[in-house]
């Protein structure tokens, strides 16, 4: 199982997305994951592809071609606004 998290405005756009994906044994990347969401969730995917959005795997920011493994937690992070 791979868990997906969407923060900030991405969370609003991802309300109908399945946040748990069965891991099918194939090597996948965050970039490929986003591509698979494109037909069903075009607005979300457009937002995910904005250049300032970061992706993390297991709470560490990674590149979009980072390999994913069973049990990983993938989070999509828009620009932060705390403080």
């Amino acid at each position: 199982m791979i868990n997906l998290l969407f923060f900030g405005r991405l969370g609003d756009l991802a309300q109908n997305v399945d946040h748990s994906i069965v891991y099918d044994g194939q090597l996948r990347t965050p970039k490929e994951l986003v591509h698979e969401l494109e037909v069903a969730h075009p607005r979300l995917v457009a937002a995910l592809r904005e250049p300032q959005v970061l992706v993390s795997v297991n709470k560490m920011v990674v590149k979009w071609d980072h390999p994913l493994f069973d049990g990983d937690e993938i989070a999509f992070l828009p620009p932060v606004t705390g403080g």
Partner: protein, 163 residues
């Protein structure tokens, strides 16, 4: 060295944090505190004319990642300037105007280090830590955009290593 980092919904008490920071050593000469408050209006962009009345502010964060990122920010500050203690508290959840939202307290031997650390931690908190603000402006919910001025504030620490 004593580092305390809390991400919490509960409010914090400046006097308690100050007392706790002060108590650690009698070598402390300087205590700097920064407290951020929720303003009653919010500029949605860098445009100074865009201010609107704010009803509530909701802070979301990424539990586990946020605390680690704050710890990294504090560690980086302590590699640049020495201190006796650093406390960072960031609130999450739904807050109202005038409520306290963030606290940074630093004790050091001399004032310059305490000021630098507090300012550095705040600049990086704004640009690196995984918090997201949503505002309710007259009933309309809206996610806040990152401010160019904050990105610039954090960048100043890398541009000028003498700072």
């Amino acid at each position: 060295m004593s580092i305390n980092i809390h991400v919490q919904h509960e409010d914090f008490d400046l006097a308690s944090e100050y007392t706790s920071l002060r108590s650690r050593t009698s070598k402390i000469g300087a205590v700097v505190t920064f407290t951020g408050l929720v303003r009653d209006f919010e500029r949605l962009h860098d445009d100074p004319t865009s201010g609107q009345n704010l009803h509530t502010l909701t802070l979301e964060h990424y539990p586990g990642m946020t605390e680690r990122l704050i710890a990294e920010i504090v560690d980086e500050a302590l590699q640049r300037w020495s201190a006796f203690g650093v406390t960072v508290i960031h609130r999450v959840g739904c807050l109202r105007p005038n409520e306290q939202i963030v606290f940074v307290g630093v004790t050091s031997e001399h004032r310059e280090n305490a000021f630098k650390i507090a300012e550095f931690v705040m600049d990086y908190l704004k640009t690196k830590a995984t918090f997201w603000k949503k505002v309710d402006l007259n009933g309309q919910q809206q996610w806040i955009m990152a401010k160019h001025s904050d990105t610039k504030a954090a960048a100043k620490w890398t541009e000028d290593s003498d700072e």
